[in-house]
């Protein structure tokens, strides 16, 4: 068996980092403006009418609103976000879901689709059967529907796109790397489905044989994986490793860069993809392709 040691890499040269695009960078306690005409947004606080930064990051100005965006932070939910989460607790008429945020999100029994697709009031029987829909440890895809008064977010899965996730594997990346875009559901050319959760949880699974509308009620909440061929399994593993490689280099993640990284990774063995040097080659190639596409 081949054994490879990953020794700690030497710290990168951080002496000559230039601020290429003239970002206005502030650190906690730094004064941003003393003009009382400005309003303070996220990442700031006021002290005697002076707007100060409370986090280290980049200043963003929208008209009269000043906010500071930290570059590494936990996920901040917004209504309409697609997230991937894990059930942590089954409670009275609700599930608690870990979405990598500052609090667990809540999925109410009234905001899930029942098997069979019928719209009806949830009965006591449904409440007793809650564990048969989602139980602790299950992965779900969901959308942020609303916020409770204490700041916790309420999710819903009232769409066939959402619901229990199976036949695949989860990759966790920093949430800042996944940006809001038109769609978060993709089918890659290599026959792999992708859900880019805005909370940094990415689910990579095999492309289902049947459309979700054709699934039987039992299959919708089933805990069993379908048959996955060797080819599909290795495609999933390769995509997962590509995403991990991109995250290692703190590259933003969307469908096109994953496709480019996948193509660049094809000459290598899947198990080798996470070695530092191969990682770097793949990321650089994918980055070049993206830049080429943008200049065209």
């Amino acid at each position: 068996m081949e054994i490879i040691f990953n020794t700690p890499s030497a710290p990168k040269e951080t002496e000559n980092i230039e601020n290429k695009q003239n970002f206005h960078i502030v650190t906690p306690g730094e004064q941003i403006t003393s003009d009382p005409a400005f309003m303070r947004g996220h990442g700031t606080y006021t002290q005697e009418d002076v707007v100060m930064a409370s986090v280290a990051g980049v200043v963003e100005r929208v008209n009269k609103l000043i906010s500071v965006k930290p570059l590494r932070t936990r996920y901040n939910a917004e209504i309409g976000d697609v997230v991937v989460g894990r059930i942590t607790e089954v409670a009275q008429k609700r599930w608690k879901v870990d979405i990598n945020g500052k609090q667990n999100a809540i999925l109410l029994l009234s905001s899930v689709n029942l098997p069979g697709g019928v719209q009806r009031r949830k009965t006591e029987l449904d409440e007793l059967n809650m564990k048969s829909f989602f139980s602790e440890g299950d992965l779900i895809g969901a959308e942020v529907q609303a916020f409770f008064h204490d700041g916790a977010s309420s999710l819903h899965t009232r769409n066939l796109k959402y619901g229990k996730l199976r036949n695949g594997s989860l990759v966790v990346v920093p949430p800042a790397l996944v940006r809001r875009c038109k769609s978060h559901f993709y089918t890659l050319p290599c026959g792999v489905d992708l859900i880019l959760g805005l909370n940094g949880y990415i689910f990579v699974s095999k492309h289902p044989d049947k459309k979700s509308e054709e699934l039987s009620p039992e299959e919708l909440y089933s805990n069993k994986n379908e048959e996955i061929t060797f080819y599909q399994r290795s495609a999933i593993a390769r995509v997962c490793n590509c995403i991990k490689a991109l995250a290692k280099h703190y590259m933003y993640i969307n469908d096109s860069i994953i496709i480019y990284a996948y193509e660049a990774s094809l000459p290598y063995k899947i198990s080798d993809l996470l070695h530092d040097d191969i990682c770097e080659v793949i990321v650089e190639k994918a980055k070049l392709q993206i830049e080429m596409q943008q200049t065209l």
Partner: protein
């Protein structure tokens, strides 16, 4: 009891060759661990510390959930190999719990916890090598890790120790100086506003000496602030260059 003369030579130099008002070499780095929300590594002379921050996240216990603010949880531990004598230490050591409590109280004033009700911020401190000033190094490491995690703070918290040898105030004591019955003062300040968040002393210090020693410690904190600000600014710029340029598409 050894005389003060050993600690301060007639030329005004200390055992390690520093002058009385000189800090030890500071070396720090943020974002060293990928799996944590924020992390930092700091060396002050031969004292080395890693701080890891997780959160704000769902509290581990219901009784740590406050409806109006986040709770801060600090765990302090030192590596078995960190001192000259190799020794296994329990995490429940009363001394460590006390240090963890001091760090916790320091940051409860600086972190804007009211933004995150019903959540918890965890700070894990691990000392890798001790050469005096473990408390102030821990506070400094925690500050850097919290900023790295994007947790809102009023401003930096910088900590430094100072002591008094033969009427001369000395800055940033090392292990030998700390253990020679030198009266020691550890101060944590928020340098811009000048507010003091922590002042710890475990020895007797004459009231007349207090002010010069205290002022020296504060000046040390201000020097550290400029070092930390430089490091944070660099790492933030680096991340901004990587992540933000794509937003201009």
């Amino acid at each position: 009891m050894s005389s003060g003369l050993d600690l301060l030579s007639p030329e005004g130099l200390r055992i390690d060759g520093r002058r009385a008002n000189e800090l030890r070499r500071v070396n720090c780095k943020t974002g060293i661990l990928v799996q944590a929300d924020g992390s930092a590594y700091i060396e002050q002379g031969n004292t080395k510390c890693i701080a890891t921050v997780y959160g704000p996240r769902e509290p581990s216990h219901k009784n740590l959930q406050y409806h109006d603010r986040a709770s801060i949880n600090v765990e302090y531990s030192i590596a078995t190999f960190s001192t000259s004598e190799r020794k296994q230490r329990s995490k429940m050591d009363r001394r460590f719990i006390e240090i963890a409590n001091i760090v916790k109280q320091t940051f409860e004033t600086a972190v804007i916890t009211s933004l995150y009700p019903r959540s918890q911020i965890d700070i894990y401190l691990q000392i890798l090598q001790i050469d005096g000033g473990a408390l102030h190094t821990s506070i400094n490491a925690a500050t850097l890790a919290l900023i790295d995690a994007g947790i809102p703070m009023k401003e930096y918290v910088c900590a430094c120790s100072a002591g008094c040898v033969e009427d001369t105030p000395i800055l940033d004591l090392n292990y030998f100086e700390e253990n020679n019955f030198t009266p020691t003062l550890t101060v944590a300040v928020m340098p811009n506003s000048g507010k003091i968040s922590t002042l710890v002393s475990e020895s007797r210090l004459h009231l007349d000496k207090f002010e010069p020693v205290f002022n020296l410690a504060v000046s040390g904190c201000k020097q550290l602030h400029s070092v930390f600000d430089d490091v944070i600014r660099k790492s933030t710029t680096e991340l901004a260059n990587r992540v933000m340029e794509k937003q201009k598409e």
